[in-house]
Symmetry: C2
Subunit: 214 residues, 2 copies
């Protein structure tokens, strides 16, 4: 990752960071990315899963996907990952906020053509969501692999923003009789629902899987 330019932190810089470890930690906690790219001046933002290895994010989808077909041209792209941790309720409307962790990353993508590297990348995406699943399932056959496009997105520049803790009110507002505090959010995997046909036993890696962040 290079030095900031697109990610210059203009507002509330105390919330912002270019620290690589902070950024990686947020990317590893989340699993849903919003990918932005432009087609003839029109921005598109499309949700997708991802996996991470170093400064590379792996994206995948149908070989016919409009998003992937645009990204593989190497156009400038932006990936946004946001984890919402709570609503911050202040005594004034103005000082309301959210607790969150977010990353905005800039870079370009390219298509992975090599079948072996494609499978490796798909495994990285699978492991990112749920460790243990990949080795349990039937791997992609050549036809399925051909129907799947896999891209590596190189993060050239990224920034993280984090807000935690209680509301910050104006000194005179602490006298108001308005409840103030934080309402935390919880995101988690709940009880698995087995398929109606021959589902078998829920394996241990799924039973103990509790994805804590979106």
């Amino acid at each position: 990752m290079s030095e900031p330019k697109r990610t210059q932190l203009r507002r509330l810089p105390d919330r912002g960071s270019h620290d690589r470890e902070t950024i990686s930690k947020i990317l590893d906690a989340g699993f849903l990315a919003q990918v932005g790219f432009s087609v003839e001046g029109q921005p598109f933002v499309i949700p997708t899963l991802y996996g991470r290895s170093g400064d590379t994010l792996y994206l995948h989808g149908s070989a016919a996907s409009r998003m992937l077909r645009q990204l593989e041209k190497g156009v400038p792209a932006c990936v946004s990952v946001t984890l919402i941790d709570g609503a911050v309720l202040a005594r004034s409307a103005f000082n309301h906020s959210m607790n969150y962790r977010s990353v905005v990353a800039f870079g370009t993508a390219r298509k992975i053509e090599d079948a072996g590297l494609k499978v490796d990348a798909l495994r990285t995406i699978s492991d990112h969501l749920m460790a243990g699943r990949w080795e349990d399932v039937r791997p992609p056959n050549p036809k399925e692999l051909k129907a799947t496009a896999v891209l590596e997105f190189s993060i050239e520049e990224a920034s993280a923003k984090i807000r935690t803790g209680p509301p910050h009110d104006e000194p005179e507002d602490y006298e108001l009789s308005v409840w103030a505090g934080v309402v935390p959010f919880e995101f988690k995997a709940i009880e698995p629902v087995s398929d109606s046909e021959n589902p078998g036993e829920v394996p241990a890696y799924i039973q103990r899987w509790r994805r804590q962040s979106l």
Copy 2:
């Protein structure tokens, strides 16, 4: 909203919809938008809260916000809202999926200048996240209102995508001894944490607030 063009549903059209009611329902269930816009060919995707009234989304932030200052120029923009409902675990890697509800909306924004309309829009955003909060807190004073930019984003075109239900496997894969099914996700507000200073009683509208979708 006009007829589709940017939102032509190319893949899995059975999952897609241009139905206005479906789109509004997803927008009302969520509260976090990812807003895409371009600056000199570089796409940006920035997370933000929103409120909705008809085909208009209200966005707000600091008057110094780079995102809002770009959007208020009336540049083409894209708003993406995604609710993740569960991991769909098939018997083959290829047929894994997610259950989700998502909206991608295209349009342009303009700044609301009138102080009264600004307050109305801020209230719409506040009510969208938590009904009852706005009338309980100190409203914005003229200085705070000046420091806040409020934009109305007119949805010109939008599409929804929804996936629900169990995995769909290849006929021959049902014989495999691989657990298949759905692991649902749950997103909710949990026990409020009162501010350390003069927080008062947690009001009923917060106690009963259980935001079920991100």
